[in-house]
């Protein structure tokens, strides 16, 4: 089964990333101990090159499936590859100085690229076992990323909790996939769809539920969310920022593809499941976030809540709303990527206790403004990025014509309001409180993080300018 030249072209972003992964790892090690700048430059270049390759393919209108229909390179996949590589790029920039201080910069950069690579493969997979492989390629390095910081003991602890829950979830995912494979006789989504078209057997339903649970685990949907705060609190900031964004987007994309391409006939089953998961997830995330005084944990629970919002779009994948549901997931992923990446990284510049944000406006007004933008965007204030995500979910939900989805949309509205106190708690601290005298928010950050934060703030604030083209892209994404 030789690989055609077209397949090589289609796999260009992944191949570039793979190449740079090796170059960064070996280059960093062989170039000697003082080569962190080189490593960061290589890693940045690699992610950028991968981004450029994906963008080029997208611009050229590339579309095709390879490996016996098991791997699809379509605008849908390329869109997510852009998100993943872009966030990886910014993470590399933000993490460069930090990684340098740990002394293990090549490894950290390699992990970032590996996660990105896994994500890129994941969004293209049309084969369930491929999905599993790619999920693991994205998550196994992420365990290491979480546990990377040897100077903080929370890091290893967060990593262990993440890992233990993660591997159990992987087993569930795998078992589900195997059961579906057994029912369908093939792991290829087209064949799965044919088999599911002939009716759902109990084994298939068990497989479906197990598979969705496994994936729900990875996107920290309730009731599988409990690893999230520990992992994100323990993780290095850049890792938490990146992991809350890129792999999640990839898993949502994969889930979309699996559900829509692989089991459209089972839609009544999984949309109902998704609606319930979404509602529970939103409430759990927001109610727990309300109690946090640590910004990392707060943002971790917030990411749980946002997973819930996105899952609400999955619930809406029925009736006339399928297309707009897909668009909602796509837009939301991009919107969430810019705002959450920035919000997490701000912690690096300020501090992780909510108190350390006190009076930030007086001491660093620009940073305070950026953080305010992120918080407002996470709430969903227009015209910031988060608004479009939520609006699209509501739009999709409104068109779905299902009572359960209406409930989910109502829950989304209620939860958006519920989330106001904790996001605005940060804004209040920054603008209305006096600066803490002792230590204060004087934590010295570095240029890379600041650059990324401001870039993300700008992207979040100006998202409305780009949302039109994004929507056009999403509408013509090729999925369905």
């Amino acid at each position: 089964m030789p690989v055609s030249g077209e397949a090589f072209l289609g796999l260009l972003p992944e191949l570039v990333a793979t190449g740079f992964l090796l170059v960064v790892l070996l280059g960093g090690v062989f170039a000697g101990p003082r080569s962190e700048a080189l490593v960061a430059a290589l890693a940045g270049l690699g992610t950028l090159a991968s981004f450029a390759a994906a963008a080029g393919l997208l611009a050229a209108g590339f579309s095709g499936t390879f490996f016996g229909g098991g791997y699809a390179v379509d605008p849908f996949a390329l869109y997510f590859k852009l998100i993943i590589t872009a966030t990886a790029f910014f993470t590399v920039i933000a993490a460069a100085r930090w990684a340098e201080r740990t002394g293990d910069a090549p490894e950290y950069m390699t992990l970032i690229i590996a996660v990105a690579l896994g994500g890129m493969l994941l969004v293209s997979m049309r084969d369930l076992f491929g999905v599993f492989l790619a999920v693991e390629l994205a998550t196994i390095p992420s365990y290491a990323m979480v546990a990377f910081d040897r100077r903080r003991r929370e890091s290893a602890e967060g990593g262990m909790k993440y890992l233990i829950t993660g591997v159990i979830a992987s087993s569930f995912l795998l078992y589900g996939i195997v059961l579906i494979y057994g029912v369908s006789g093939s792991a290829n989504l087209s064949r799965v769809a044919e088999a599911f078209g002939e009716g759902l057997s109990p084994v298939a339903i068990v497989g479906l539920v197990l598979m969705i649970s496994g994936l729900a685990f990875k996107v920290s949907a309730a009731p599988f969310h409990f690893w999230t705060p520990d992992a994100y609190q323990g993780a290095p900031t850049s890792a938490a920022a990146f992991l809350s964004v890129a792999p999640k987007a990839a898993i949502f994309a994969a889930l979309l593809r699996i559900l829509l391409d692989g089991m459209p006939q089972a839609a009544p089953t999984w949309t109902a499941l998704m609606a319930v998961i979404a509602i529970v997830t939103m409430f759990v995330g927001n109610l727990l976030a309300l109690r946090q005084s640590n910004v990392r944990r707060m943002l971790a629970y917030s990411s749980v809540a946002h997973s819930g919002y996105i899952l609400a779009a999955f619930a809406a994948l029925q009736g006339d709303a399928v297309s707009s549901g897909v668009q909602a997931v796509m837009i939301y992923s991009a919107a969430y990527a810019v705002m959450n990446l920035g919000a997490f990284l701000t912690i690096d510049l300020v501090g992780e206790e909510a108190k350390s944000f006190n009076g930030l406006f007086a001491t660093r007004p620009m940073l305070a403004a950026a953080m305010a933008v992120f918080m407002a965007a996470l709430v969903g204030i227009p015209p910031l990025s988060g608004f479009f995500g939520k609006a699209w979910v509501i739009y999709a939900g409104a068109g779905s014509g299902s009572a359960l989805v209406y409930v989910a949309v109502a829950a989304l509205v209620v939860n958006s309001v519920l989330s106001v106190p904790y996001y605005f708690g940060i804004i209040r601290n920054m603008f209305q409180e006096e600066p803490v005298s002792a230590g204060g928010p004087a934590k010295k950050g570095d240029g890379g993080v600041a650059f990324t934060v401001y870039a993300m703030a700008l992207l979040t604030a100006l998202f409305f300018l780009g949302v039109g083209p994004l929507a056009a892209l999403a509408a013509g994404s090729g999925l369905l």
Binding site: E136, A147, K161, G182, G185
Partner: protein, 112 residues
């Protein structure tokens, strides 16, 4: 004897494999969820993954036209399980270095 050989070679019904695998998986999941020692949890996870492998191989054997795909996937899964455990043990080691315990319940500085 002929009977014995025939029995041995007669296919054990698919349900047999599946049931055993499901039981293995359940035991593994149960252990992974209630055991507190991180290393034991990994062992339980291995049990789960091997249950899945068993299911997979059984399916691959019984499915018409599946070819060697199922067995091939099994090899991949084994590799992934190995990677998981490798990373896992590294992290457990890091935990042990700072706290002298691998008991999950005693590792609790992250709360809230």
């Amino acid at each position: 004897m002929q009977q014995l050989v025939e029995q041995l070679n007669a296919q054990i019904p698919l349900e047999g494999y599946l049931t055993v695998a499901a039981i293995m998986f359940a035991i593994g999941a149960w252990g992974a969820l209630i055991r507190r020692n991180a290393v034991v949890v990994f062992m339980c996870v291995e049990l789960m993954i091997n249950a899945v492998n068993l299911t997979l191989v059984a399916f691959a054997d019984f499915l018409p036209g599946a070819g060697g795909a199922g067995a091939g996937y099994t090899v991949l899964i084994i590799a992934i399980a190995a990677a998981e455990v490798a990373v896992g043990l590294a992290i457990v080691l890091a935990i042990f270095r700072t706290r002298r315990t691998v008991n999950i319940d005693e590792v609790d500085s992250l709360r809230g």
